[in-house]
């Protein structure tokens, strides 16, 4: 083999090597967008009696920073009690969490892109990137975010990392469970079957059918955030 041929062959090989991973990436991207999941939740408030077991289970499963001082105690999921200003009106229990908006203000304001929307619509915080400026807490209309105000000893779930003093935390739809084919711990815990979780892009999923019923509402729809947590009977 002549020197020139050798170089030519080498060049072709190198080019092929450079192109093939790139092309495989393109291919992978196409496949993924074709049948990507988009996760959402529907909460049937007519079944919810506000027992709060979902919130307690969430606290244990997600290593939520828990302190006796209510002002700095963190909540990824909380039960709000809402009633109209009409006299003698009934109180309604409403579980509230991160609504995983399509247009999340928290992600828009984050100066370091520590908050981001995953391809499947789950809004996450990279707590190794978060600088703890708390702008997202100011921007979130659902008060879904909490700041870890001090070092929190111990962890209730050893499979997840501990909380970190100085960064913001929030509901992540139990993303580690979802990635292992499970459902969020609050949905699993609810004995009344009030919560359902699933793929909004799948027309036959339970959540899609409930939303298609047309009787669902979201909290503060007036803000046009595209929240993915829907409520039946709100």
């Amino acid at each position: 083999m002549k020197r020139r041929d050798f170089l030519k062959a080498g060049g072709i090989l190198a080019a092929a090597g450079a192109v093939s991973p790139a092309s495989s990436l393109l291919h992978a991207g196409k496949v993924e967008t074709a049948n990507v999941n988009k996760y959402g939740m529907v909460i049937d408030l007519t079944r919810c009696d506000g027992c709060g077991e979902c919130a307690s289970a969430c606290r244990i499963a997600n290593n939520v920073a828990t302190f006796p001082d209510k002002k700095i105690d963190n909540h990824l999921l909380r039960i709000a009690r809402v009633k109209s200003k009409f006299p003698n009106s009934q109180e309604q229990a409403i579980p509230l969490m991160c609504m995983h908006c399509d247009h999340p203000p928290c992600v828009h304001v984050c100066p370091v892109k520590a908050s981001f929307v995953r391809k499947d619509g789950i809004v996450l915080i990279d707590k190794h990137r978060c600088i703890g400026c708390r702008y997202c807490m100011v921007a979130c209309p659902y008060k879904a975010r909490s700041f870890v105000f001090k070092h929190h000893e111990g962890s209730s779930n050893l499979e997840l990392p501990k909380t970190m003093h100085g960064v913001v935390e929030k509901c992540d739809f139990c993303v580690n469970r979802v990635d292992h084919g499970q459902i969020p711990v609050c949905v699993e815990t609810c004995k009344k079957g009030a919560m359902s979780f699933g793929n909004l892009n799948d027309k036959d999923s339970r959540v899609s059918r409930l939303i298609a019923s047309g009787r669902v509402h979201r909290v503060r729809e007036d803000l046009h955030l595209g929240a993915k947590v829907y409520y039946l009977g709100l």
Binding site: P105, C110, C133
Partner: protein, 396 residues
Amino acid sequence: MKIYFTTIDGKSKGMYALLSVLAVIAAAGMYATYAMFSQGHYITGMNNQIPWGLPIVVAIYCIGLSAGSLVLSALSAVFGQKEFKPFARIAVFVAALLLVGSLLSIILDWGRPDRVMLPFLYLNPRSIFSWNGFLYSSYIFICIVYLWAMFTGRDAWIKPMGIIAVIWAVGVHSGTGAIFGFINARELYHSPLASPTFVTAALSSGTALMILILVSTFKATGRFLDNRLIIGLAKLLGPFILVVLYFVIVEYVVRLYTPSTYEPTSFVLFGGNIYTYIFWVGLILIGSIIPCIILFNPLTKNSVPWIMFASLLVVIGVFCERLIFVLPGQVFPLNLFPDMEMTSDFMDGVITWYQVSLPEIAQGLGILSIVAILYIIGLKLFALLPSEARHLEHEL
């Protein structure tokens, strides 16, 4: 006219006493900051309902003062007010220092200040904070280039640099106002008027602070300062105050008129709480009405002690304006279910008061002391101060 700039001697006992007092306050502030990180941020007055407290107020306050003093420097370079040329150097220097102070306050307020480089590594073009990181740091850089042009006598550079600096100051201020104005979730933040209000409040507080700094510095160093220059600055201050007042009135009237924002607005204006007093006494009476009476009254408007007093009131009043801007929007609970009553374990639907804590106050005063120390050191190292500041007419 030739202006001679000289360094200060800086060997008097009074100055060493002042420096040591400032150093003690700065050390206390740094210790308070250390305590926040070692013990936890629960020792501050902030909590999950009120994520932004005094440090953010101090930060945006310093930014305001900074932009205002920079515009003062540009008066001679850009707007042709040649009589203010003696103040050009010192005003730019103060502008840069105050911005350093505000950056310190912001960064030390973060939960993780060790990640200070990340905003520069991961820009988010939709985040006004990301823009501000760029605006603030480049603003300091522009101030330094501007100073360098003045020091090295590059007269051709001074006017363009002054124009750039003024544009940047407006950008920095609009950006700071937009931090709050962009937040749709909170009725007391969301407003297109936030940015213009910040720009004008910056002009009034910055001019007032420069009057205080100039008169006290010239007096302390025994240099001659022509009263007519201070009176000239005071003539600017009066209209600035009125513009701020006008913006505030427009903002609050619109909010009172709108049913969806009536409740939080009346909480501030007529709630009978601390914010009501800060608004009516701090911002309206002390910060606007009394200074205007002093600055427009023929008996007092040409008296430097009265102008000093009015400037002090304006500096206090704009601080109250910043408090009103940042705090009530968080103290008043978020409205998740409009026109309904809401309670929860997470302070929903109830007013959570912000109780300012000693560490936060110490941190704020410490940062201001650091700025003051740098100011004195700057005067000693660089020829920032004119040997005397005379009105142009003396030359004629």
